[in-house]
Amino acid sequence: MSKTILTVDDSRTMREMLMLALSEAGFSVVQAEDGVHGLEVLEKETPDVIVTDINMPRMDGFGFIEGVRRHEKHRGVPILVLTTESDGEKKDRARRAGATGWIVKPFSPVKLVDAIRRVAV
């Protein structure tokens, strides 16, 4: 069975790009629009990997990661953070919140799939 990836991003453009790249790589994809929505989706879905944006309304990526790590059922799921910042501050904060790894935007499908493979396959 193909692995399921949950993508959490408030940008429709990004969600569609992720969807395209991931589905072409053979993953199933479920989507959420922000952290709150992402946690809601986790009530129904059991993804193998989560790919999340940082800057989002309602609940940002940090809050979302902490939420997942506190979640009884999903605390062990690998989380990759999408970040444009290469300066490390965001990466650092995401890591402390419990992120497994990161993908620097703009990402290529190869880079994306490679990062996922590294944490989950």
Partner: protein, 725 residues
């Protein structure tokens, strides 16, 4: 469609949405809203545009957005105060951003000078404050390889085809901490990744595993030593551990050093129990780690981690309070229209059924009649709900007007404040799309002509800043949009004078104030200043009126001298249903759009005049209006009919031309579902569309414009004002 092209389309749609968010946030900031969430929302909008723009390689856009974002980041982190001057610049930057997005979408380019001016202003705001690193920007533009499949193949070939490069041995020592597992990283995967780089032999040290009773199931007790024979560099080996370097002790050494260490180790201790040996191995490994500078997590960590999660939680809590999830799906418009069509059929079917049942003479109390009543109610509800799918809030259009106000105000040197009301009011998508142009024109007009210059306002005892109010409300099944200014009001003496000089009204005409005000909607009327390039472009209010009428709407004006003018537009909520007058012509049933009808008349013998060649006019209100026999135009009959036996409907076409249509009788007013004739049959001159009536018969909807335009060529003379009666 190519999936990337589809995503690009999504990106532009999203840009439009983000631009609306951006502008409304900035307007709030301009009003003194310094809520962090407002600033965050503004930042997010710009940030999100940047993300997509980068992915698609819109360099010009990325470059500008980057400066914009950096400025907003300063405000967000309280390093720059959002003073009125700053928000003003930001608003203008949002205008430029909109231009750049449009340029990117249409493949053109934006006004480079204007972009530069604002970019310079933003850079000036950034001033001495630390800039976002330029490098970040260039990297994101240049590493845009969304189709890099080729790259990956290349790199594979590189490895395969080149002569086998020299290999070397690395000794990797890796001791995960519990934090590594808590973040869902796993040793197994890391080992496998290492395995991809070359040949490995792995040793695991289990010496630290405690007794079962003391074992923490989430603890980390293992230490791994991997000997890797590979052709890749040390850097590439370290990259495997990129995600975990803070959560482990790691050392990567070339085997020479490793061998040396091993030898050293062996020489230091005699062979003992394996567990013992392992413990020593780790202590030895530690200084080695330092020597190759693999820094464990910097100790600054705990100090800052104290406030970060807290901040995250606060934001999260705030987010939860800001409203329920708005789940949406995107549906092809065609599908919605098909559904609307089907519901239209349902409405017709239901009406037919009702008619049959009432013809059958069943008692009102019979269960069939009661059931039908319920069906009717349900059908109506379904129709409303389906129409609501196409409905959208007027907010984006309204928001666009704030830019128009800013532009015209700055061009005319006036100070104007736009207040919006009812932006959430919804109306059909097509109506919204076709509303922009007339509304823009009205707004320009109001700022240019309505609102006075500051000194005149002060002299009149008004505040220096003019007030423009744009509002939308639902009223009796229509949407009413008002543009109200607090300016000088319509200069009636001047309007009258112009109308006379242009021959639009006779010099001695006796008009009410209301009639004078409405003269500005006449074709050919254009006050002196409206040829200015601001509200002008040679377009008069008559064009606005025609555009509104084309949407089945009406426009009116009310004005109080010295207090201002209010333009009020009333538009149908949907274009799929039409308010029509159902009439009989030559035994056929026709529908005439109600919006076109001005009044109905009973023609008297003495008011009808023959013009020869069979053409006739009717005298109404001091003018002669062409009289058209609809039955003859549509070839229902070829004998001329006696007008006095008929009913005349005075109609006005979109171009403002008037005409009296002769019909046999009026059946009544009704809402009808519009069915396109073109898609089902073909174009018929004089017919706009068709509908199906309650009795199942098809009725044609008259194309008033076509009917009025047809005979006008030989009847221009009839437009002249008639002599006073």
């Amino acid at each position: 469609m190519d999936p990337m092209a589809a995503i690009k389309q999504t990106f532009f749609q999203e840009c439009e949405e983000q631009l609306v968010e951006l502008e409304s946030g900035l307007l709030k900031m301009e009003d003194g809203d310094d809520d962090l969430e407002t600033v965050n929302a503004v930042f997010r909008a710009v940030h999100s545009i940047k993300g997509g723009a980068g992915a698609f390689g819109f360099d010009e856009l990325v470059e500008f957005v980057h400066v914009f974002e950096t400025t907003l980041d300063l405000i967000r982190s309280s390093r720059l105060a959002a003073t009125p001057a700053v928000t003003k610049t930001l608003l203008r930057a949002s205008d430029i951003l909109a231009d750049l997005v449009r340029a990117a979408r249409e493949g053109g380019s934006a006004d480079a000078t204007a972009v530069q001016v604002i970019a310079d202003e933003l850079n000036a705001l950034l001033g001495g404050a630390p800039r976002g690193d330029e490098e970040d920007n260039t990297i994101s533009v240049e590493s845009l390889d969304f189709e890099p499949v080729t790259i990956s193949l290349d790199s594979i070939f590189d490895v395969g085809e080149e002569e086998a490069p020299a290999t070397q041995d690395f000794i990797v020592r890796f001791k995960p901490s519990a934090g590594l597992y808590a973040k869902a990283n796993e040793t197994l995967r890391l080992l496998r990744e290492l395995g991809r780089l070359g040949e490995t032999s792995v040793e695991c040290d289990i010496g630290e595993i405690p007794l079962l009773t003391e074992l923490d199931p989430e603890g980390a007790y293992l230490c791994w030593t991997i000997r890797l024979t590979t052709s890749v560099s040390e850097q590439q080996v370290r990259e495997i551990f990129e995600f975990v370097e803070w959560d482990c002790e790691l050392s990567v050494e070339t085997a020479d050093v490793g061998k040396l260490l091993e030898e050293l180790q062996e020489s230091l201790e005699p062979r003992e129990a394996p567990a013992e040996r392992a413990a020593v191995a780790i202590t030895i490994a530690e200084p080695a780690e330092k020597s190759v500078a693999v820094a464990p997590e910097p100790q600054s960590g705990p100090a800052t981690s104290e406030d970060h999660p807290a901040a995250g939680k606060a934001e999260a809590a705030k987010g939860e309070g800001s409203g329920a999830v708005q789940a949406t799906i995107r549906v092809d418009l065609d599908r919605v229209d098909r559904l609307i069509n089907l519901v239209g059929e349902l409405v017709i079917n239901q009406a037919m059924l009702s008619q049959r049942v009432s013809e059958a003479g069943l008692s009102r109390a019979s269960s069939v009649v009661i059931g039908l009543d319920e069906l009717e109610q349900l059908t109506r509800d379904i129709q409303d709900s389906v129409m609501a799918i196409r409905a959208q809030p007027v907010k984006p259009v309204f928001q666009r007007m704030s830019r128009t106000v800013r532009e015209v105000a700055s061009m005319t040197g006036k100070s104007v404040r736009l207040v919006m009301d009812g932006e959430a009011t919804e109306v059909d998508k097509t109506v919204i799309e076709r509303l922009t142009d007339p509304l823009t024109h009205m707004i320009r007009n109001a700022v240019d002509h309505g609102i006075e210059k500051a000194e005149d306002r002060v002299a009149a005892g008004k505040p220096e800043e003019g007030l423009l109010r744009l509002s939308a409300t639902h009223r009796s099944g229509r949407i009413v949009i008002e543009v109200a200014d607090d300016g000088a009001g319509i200069n009636r003496a001047r309007v009258r004078q112009i109308a006379i000089s242009k021959g639009l009204i006779p010099a001695e005409a006796n008009l009410t104030d209301d009639e004078v005000d409405n003269l500005i909607f006449l074709p050919g009327f254009s006050t002196a200043s409206s040829v200015s390039n601001i509200s002008g472009r040679g377009v008069g209010m008559d064009v606005v009126k025609r555009a509104i009428q084309a949407l089945g709407g009406r426009i009116s004006i009310s004005s109080v001298p010295g207090r201002g003018s209010t333009f009020s537009m009333s538009l149908p909520l949907t274009l799929a249903v039409l308010d029509g007058m159902v009439v009989t012509v030559g035994g056929q049933t026709l529908v005439i759009p109600l919006t076109a009808i001005i009044e109905t008349l009973q023609p008297k013998k003495e008011s009808v005049h023959e013009l020869g060649s069979g053409a006739r006019v009717i005298a109404t209100r001091n003018t002669f209006t062409p009289l058209i026999d609809v039955g003859a135009v549509l070839l229902y009959r070829d004998e001329p009919i006696d007008p006095t036996s008929q009913v005349a409907l005075l109609v006005e076409s979109e171009s403002g031309a008037k005409c009296a249509l002769l019909v046999d009788a009026i059946q009544g007013q009704r809402q009808v579902v519009i069915k396109s004739l073109e898609t089902n049959y073909g174009h018929v001159h004089g017919i706009a569309a068709a509908t199906i009536l309650g009795d199942g018969r098809v009725a044609l909807i008259l194309d008033v414009d076509a009917i009025v335009a047809r005979p006008r060529a030989d009847m221009i003379v009839a437009e002249l004002p008639a002599a006073a009666e």
